[in-house]
Amino acid sequence: MKEKIIVVTDKTGLHARPAAVLVRTICKYQSSVKIFKDDFKVDARSIIGIMTLAALHGSRLKFVADGPDENEVLTAIEELFNSNFNK
């Protein structure tokens, strides 16, 4: 099990578009991925879950991956945030 903390830097937060891109990316990997924010925990393959997190600009998200490609999936997630979701 591996984890990574990522801060949302997009002004509008993790809204529908980046959430869609995020889910599409994670679905390419086998590992399970959970997102923790404050007291909430959601499945990162669930776009509804991600949207209800209401992750605004500056939110700290903890991604926890578990599975054969846990390192790869976390790296891919981090790259997405760094590239601002290929915008």
Binding site: D10, A16, A20, V23, R24, D43, R45, I47, I48
Partner: protein
């Protein structure tokens, strides 16, 4: 006619413009009529199949929308549909619906229940933007229900060009369907500035007002309605007087749009075929749209001071990148000239950089490039943001307030180091990015030949050049009358700058207020200026002026003017022509 009395409803202006037309009431089917019934054990598997079918049909409907939405002008909306597809296939959602069916619920009731739970979790969100996203869930839920029940939303067959669509809410798919019918405008009960319909209406340049609360229950199909997308109002039951008033506004609006349209795609070219470029000055990224709307050939001055306003910390490299790349993408393939920070020292106290220090002479003090050289970290963050954005379109980088070569070289050295660092980290940027300076300090004008050899372009900032050359503070009313763009010294300076630029083979722009004032257009043209950078709304005016002139005439007049030693003679010559 007698009993017509305006009923004005106030809402949120979602897309500008005015439309007068007849209501087409697009009724919201809401949650249909749902029945809850117990499904016997042996029929539950079939009930699940029924659900799977409905989801599959919904998916193919969404894919059709996905295909159609690709050619909506403006932004890329496909991601909205993609989000809907992901909602449809959200693993937990389907599992929960299955669970309810396993417990004996019928499919439509199970869908309704699960949707309700999800929507509730959105309703308790405090942030309005995220709260509004429950509409996406509702959209998808209704589609599944419609397919389960074999019901389809009425298609707006009887829509015509005169129709104004009124509805409780318009889904994305509705808006796309309606769009193919070319309607006049939209008015809805709910929704905000960021709802999908609002964004699409803006893309289509159709007036829209949302958040009117009750409009859909106050009108019937065929009623006359006025949608004022500028004021965020609709008028129901309008009186004759009101209709006439809005018709006039409509006509004026149409006239203006037509003229703009006509002018928009025409080059800024004199009658004797001399072409110049008219570019726009912008203060914030959201003005990029009006640059294109007014037919400017790019951005000649993208100010960056907005990055530092209304905040108490320094903007990060990422913030710089995001804002600049949004402009560049909107304007591409046209060019964007970004001017590095032109702040005065007073602005920085708030950002935690300086102690509150009153400068006796702020215009001669620590500002613009001087400030950037003193606080290199702040400057480098901006340069990195600009360089990274340059991978997304044509950026030209411009330094303000350069007073001499040493300063220019010092700044360029920082730029080179920043590039080196990005290269070593394999960060993409435009290696060919042009670098220029704003000419606004008299010393730079005197040595303009030397400067021109070391830059790719120059742009004359007339406001400061006049202020510094004539030693006049134009805000000081006792001397403001001395602030004179037609002072012979200013015109000769401009001539020197243009000639030196052309000798060095680079283009010379002008981006002060003089450029946007049609009284000076002929002189600037005659002086040989290549690029006029003006406020977006001034673009058509200056373009029109240039298109009515002969370069040969302008040159002759300018030659005459350059011989004058006093402003009065210059004025006389101008008035004569």
């Amino acid at each position: 006619m007698l009993n017509k009395k305006d009923i004005i409803l106030k809402g949120v202006a979602a897309s500008s413009g005015i439309a007068i037309g007849r209501v087409f009431l697009f009724e919201d089917d809401n949650y249909f009529c749902l029945i809850s019934k117990e499904i016997p054990k042996n029929a539950r598997a079939a009930e699940k199949e029924h659900l799977d079918d409905a989801i599959e049909r919904t998916e193919s409907e969404l894919k059709v929308v996905y295909g159609k939405i690709n050619d909506v002008p403006g932004e890329n909306y496909t991601h909205i549909v993609d989000a809907h597809l992901l909602i449809l296939h959200n693993p937990a959602m389907k599992a929960n619906i299955y669970k309810l069916i396993d417990a004996g619920a019928n499919a439509e009731y199970a869908v309704y229940k699960v949707m309700e739970q999800i929507i509730h979790s959105f309703e308790i969100i405090e942030n309005d933007y995220f709260k509004e996203r429950k509409a996406d869930i509702q959209d998808v839920g209704k589609k599944i229900l419609a397919n389960l029940l074999g019901k389809q939303r009425k298609t707006p067959l009887s829509l015509n060009k005169d129709s104004i669509v009124v509805s409780h809410n318009l889904t994305l798919a509705d808006t796309v369907t309606i769009r193919e019918k070319s309607v006049k405008g939209f008015a809805t009960d709910i929704g905000g500035k960021t709802s999908h319909m609002a964004i699409i209406a803006q893309g289509l340049a159709l007036p829209a007002v949302v958040g009117l609360k009750t409009v859909s229950s106050q009108v019937r199909t065929g009623d006359i309605i006025i949608v004022d997308g500028n004021a965020g109002e609709v008028v129901l039951n309008p009186s004759f007087k009101t209709i006439v008033k809005y018709k006039k506004e409509c006509a004026a609006q149409a006239e203006k749009i037509k003229e703009l349209e006509n002018l928009k795609n025409l080059p800024a070219q004199t009658i004797d075929n001399h072409k110049v470029l008219i570019l726009a000055n912008i203060d914030t990224p959201d003005e990029a749209a009006s640059v294109l709307l007014n037919g400017a050939s790019g951005i000649g001055l993208c100010r960056t001071e907005f990055m530092y306003y209304n905040r108490d910390s320094m903007p990060s490299e990422q913030e710089h990148f995001e804002r600049y790349s949004s402009v560049v993408k909107a304007i591409s393939p046209l060019e964007t000239t970004i001017r590095t920070t032109d702040l005065g020292g007073d602005k920085l106290a708030k950002l935690g950089l300086l102690n509150e220090k009153k400068e006796k002479n702020p215009f001669l003090g620590l500002r613009a490039i001087r400030l950037c050289l003193k606080y290199a970290d702040m400057f480098i963050a901006q340069l990195r943001g600009i360089l990274k954005a340059s991978a997304y379109g044509k950026i030209r980088l411009m330094y303000p307030m350069i007073s001499g070569l040493d300063e220019l070289r010092e700044v360029n050295e920082i730029l080179e180091k920043t590039k080196q660092d990005l290269r070593s980290k394999c960060v993409k940027f435009d290696e060919e990015m042009e670098v220029g300076v704003m000419i606004e300090v008299p010393s730079a004008t005197v040595i303009i030949d030397d400067i021109a050899k070391e830059v790719d372009f120059v742009s004359i900032g007339t406001n400061d050049l006049i202020q510094y050359t004539l030693a006049v503070d134009r805000i000081n009313e006792d001397v403001a009358n001395l602030y004179n763009p037609l002072h012979p010294a200013i015109l000769r300076f401009i001539k020197q700058i243009v000639d030196a630029g052309h000798r060095a083979g680079i283009d010379v722009g002008i981006c002060g207020e003089m450029a946007g004032d049609a009284r000076y257009t002929a002189i600037l043209l005659g002086l040989g200026v290549d690029k006029f950078s003006v406020s977006p709304f001034q673009t058509p005016k200056i373009k029109r002026a240039i298109r009515s002139m002969y370069l040969a005439d302008a040159k002759k007049t300018t030659d005459e003017i350059l011989k004058c030693g006093d402003s009065e003679s210059i004025l006389k010559i101008i008035n004569k022509h």
